[in-house]
């Protein structure tokens, strides 16, 4: 399975959809300069699910902020589809960690999902249809009239995912998206994201500190470590499209990859 998948990917990967080259980021100047990211390089191919894993405080959030165009790097470039970005980009959508703060409580879930499309000038009927469709895709069909605060945490994060999908960006950036929900909801959301990714062919970059989650979800796991952070390992998981919370995690390759990542993180 893994052996078959690898050459296929190489054929597709003529040019990576998202490319990070020589990314360096620091806060402060002079003696007080605190270097966060150091000469970081990574590539994400079209349709790929990439996890970025690393210990807390390594600089994952900073990397995500650079990728989403919220802050500019000291040096290096982030390019999408071969074009270097200079700020928030049309082809990048973000799912924030804290769903309860990223959804707007004065809008219904349908309005929340449709709102970014309104910003792009999509007509009311069209954007509401798109919102309803994407709410249905995350398992919230017919619940658009509810307000976010009438929903559970897991449902709110589904709404946030629907909003990112409706934006129709090529790349979805997810910042520890399941860190604030309980374990069972987390498994459900993980499986939902896997399904969405294989059905819609969207490219996903998910940042997490959880090694199991990173491995379970991704086609490729990028390991960040050291201070300032840099890429210390890239692992192709090769589990294919079908994943199961029990089977996949019991796969010997899963244990092997897990050990390898842990080893990488420990040795730095």
């Amino acid at each position: 399975m893994a052996v078959q998948a690898a050459p296929e990917q190489e054929q597709v990967a003529t040019a990576p959809l998202l490319q990070v080259q020589g990314l360096t980021m620091s806060y402060g100047f002079g003696d007080a300069e605190n270097k966060i990211l150091n000469n970081l390089n990574l590539e994400v191919n079209d349709g790929e699910f990439v996890s970025i894993v690393g210990p807390s405080g390594v600089g994952k959030t900073t990397l995500l902020r650079v990728l989403s165009g919220l802050i500019r790097p000291k040096s290096g470039t982030v390019s999408v589809g071969g074009e270097a970005i200079s700020g928030p980009h049309r082809d990048l959508a973000v799912v924030f960690q804290d769903y309860s703060r990223s959804l707007m409580p004065w809008m219904t879930t349908l309005e929340n999902v449709a709102f970014p499309l309104q910003g792009r000038g999509v007509g009311k009927k069209e954007r509401n249809e798109a919102a309803a469709k994407n709410l249905a895709a995350v398992g919230l069909g017919g619940q658009g009239h509810k307000y976010p605060w009438e929903m559970s945490g897991g449902m709110q994060q589904r709404v946030a995912i629907a909003r990112a999908l409706a934006y129709n960006a090529k790349v979805l950036l997810m910042d520890e998206p399941f860190a604030s929900v309980d374990a069972q909801t987390r498994f459900d959301l993980e499986d939902l994201v896997i399904d969405l990714q294989s059905n819609l062919g969207v490219t996903i970059i998910l940042v997490t500190h959880d090694i199991d989650e990173a491995l379970y979800l991704a086609d490729k796991v990028i390991v960040l470590a050291e201070k300032p952070a840099t890429v210390v390992d890239v692992i192709e998981t090769g589990f294919g499209d079908h994943r199961d919370q029990v089977e996949t995690k019991a796969d010997p390759r899963f244990a092997e990859a897990r050990a390898r990542i842990l080893h990488r993180l420990r040795s730095h």
């Binding site: 409580p105 004065w106 970014p116 309104q118 307000y147």
Partner: protein, 290 residues
């Protein structure tokens, strides 16, 4: 089974309790309807007993008053009824309330617009901040003669005076509200490239609205005070004029009646405002943010 039976509150079983309930039902309406009515009645009583008591004490204590400046409540209410029925107060009140309405509206529009802009642009806020705090610290009522002196005695200057006094709480609260917008929502707005106009209208404004409304609530009584004060100078109409005029001609019960009426109007307006607030901020109250 036993566990649920233990947990649920005692249900009317097929014993004495159920027959009791049935008799209550027969007596009039369902039990629930009656208890809701009783609750509402209790609620009204709870909110009104003190004011009723105050008026009762006022009435009895002032009944045999010989002090010309403290007439009996009976005299005050009689003058109030007379001047209400002959339209003297009516025309004055409509003049005053028009000024109040126009002044408040102006204050709200300018306060919110200015507050949104100042809240969003730090540089500008830092420049303007000392000026704002200087002007809001100036006693507004003291400015009334100056404004009227400078701008004339018509209705316009009175409206500007009310607007000027009411603007500060709205402006300051709007700035505070804008500064308090959840950072994640700001990030969302940036990443999803929401255009500035839409960002103001659908993100910043609603997020700041609870604070803005609180500012308007503070502005309301200020407006009523300034409304009265603005008619104490160079006016020939309005509630303030009625109070001043009666006081100057030693019609003391009328003076009291006017003051009492302004108080009642203030109370009614604040009640109306609560209804308005519940409506415009229903998401805020329901979401449990408050």
């Amino acid at each position: 089974m036993t566990e649920t039976a233990l947990r649920t509150p005692p249900k009317p079983g097929p014993g004495t309790v159920s027959t009791k309930n049935a008799s209550v039902r027969q007596a009039g309406g369902t039990f629930r309807e009656r208890s809701r009515f009783a609750k509402a009645l209790l609620n009204v009583l709870q909110r009104t007993w003190l004011i009723a008591l105050v008026f009762a004490i006022w009435w009895t204590a002032s009944a045999n008053s010989t002090n010309i400046f403290i007439p009996s409540l009976e005299d005050i209410l009689l003058s109030l009824r007379r001047d209400l029925s002959n339209g003297v107060i009516g025309s004055g009140a409509s003049y005053s309330l028009t000024n109040l309405g126009a002044g408040l509206l102006l204050a709200v529009v300018v306060g919110i617009a200015g507050g949104l802009v100042l809240g969003e642009t730090r540089r500008l806020r830092e420049i303007v901040d000392p000026v704002i705090h200087f002007f809001r610290s100036v006693p507004q009522a003291a400015l009334v003669p100056l404004i009227i002196g400078a701008f004339g005695i018509g209705q316009g200057p009175k409206i500007y005076t009310i607007a000027f006094a009411c603007m500060w709480p709205v402006l300051l609260n709007t700035i505070d509200g804008v500064l308090g917008v959840e950072p994640t929502i700001r990030k969302f707005s940036k990443v999803y490239r929401i255009p500035a106009g839409l960002h103001f209208r659908r993100v910043v404004l609603p997020a700041a609205l609870p604070q803005i409304v609180a500012g308007i609530r503070v502005a309301l009584p200020i407006g009523i005070t300034v409304m009265v004060v603005s008619e104490l100078f160079a006016a020939n109409k309005g509630l303030g004029f009625y109070i001043l005029n009666s006081s100057a001609t030693f019609q003391v019960p009328e003076t009291w009646a006017g003051a009492l009426l302004v108080g009642v109007i203030g109370y009614i307006l604040s009640l109306l405002f609560i209804v308005f607030e519940r409506r415009i901020l229903s998401w805020y109250f329901k979401s449990g943010a408050k």
